[in-house]
């Protein structure tokens, strides 16, 4: 498809388990972003990739959260030892390269709804 895709669409996991969420950005988009949407915290930035490097990880809430991007394309967000407060919708977005002062629209995927029981 032409848009950002995410998998799985929904994920239910038990507290303490690890989960991996996947994002496929739009082809050619070098910038990739992860956001989290939860009832308590609203929509918050997690991490930004430019190519395979992550110059901004400031939004990751704890060291249980990590993300990687390989080949400048697919990204995986991993949450270790999940807690109930990790329950949220995890949104991925991609854009053309970010350069100083120039705006490139972020295109969002449909998100992964994570439920930790």
């Amino acid at each position: 498809g032409a848009g950002v895709s995410q998998s799985p669409s929904n994920k239910v996991t038990e507290k303490g388990k690890d989960v991996e969420l996947r994002c496929d950005p739009i082809s050619g988009h070098t910038a990739l972003y992860w956001y989290r949407q939860s009832l308590g915290q609203g929509l918050e930035f997690l991490i930004y990739f430019q190519g395979n490097s992550a110059p901004d990880k400031s939004g990751l809430p704890s060291d249980r959260f990590s993300a990687e991007r390989t080949g400048g394309s697919v990204s995986t967000l991993t949450i270790q030892r999940t807690q109930q407060e990790d329950s949220a919708v995890y949104l991925c977005a991609s854009s053309l390269e970010v350069s100083g002062g120039a705006f490139f629209e972020q295109y969002f995927g449909p998100g992964t709804r994570l439920t930790v029981t």
Partner: protein
């Protein structure tokens, strides 16, 4: 740090009427970008309209327009001729001129009634 405030948790409007959603923000920067995103029940975030802070002219996109008041740090969205398909959560968002991340408000649920 920048903050974005949407003070209207929910709003409703009759089909074909006009509605205005409010947004205020706080920043010490002189140039930046402001956005309105729409999120329907499908969860897909869609960019509705954007405004560059250095532009004095208010942005418009068909039935959607903004009232950008830089001094007051206000950025409201006006939807004219509301349609049932406009029913969604609307988020106001801020991005620094040299930034890479969006800072979102809490959102406003808009219901268009027939």
């Amino acid at each position: 740090a920048q903050t974005v405030t949407q003070s209207q948790p929910e709003m409703s409007v009759q089909e074909a009427e006009t509605v205005t959603l409010s947004c205020t923000y706080d920043t010490s920067e002189s140039n930046y970008y402001l956005f309105w995103y729409k999120q329907p029940p499908s969860r897909q975030m869609i960019l509705v309209i954007r405004q560059e802070a250095y532009k004095q002219q208010n942005a418009t996109e068909n039935r959607f327009s903004v009232n950008f008041q830089k001094a007051a740090k206000s950025f409201s969205l006006k939807i004219s001729d509301s349609q049932l398909g406009d029913t969604a959560m609307y988020f106001c968002a801020f991005m620094s001129e040299y930034g890479n991340k969006l800072v979102f408000g809490a959102g406003t649920i808009l219901r268009v009634k027939s």
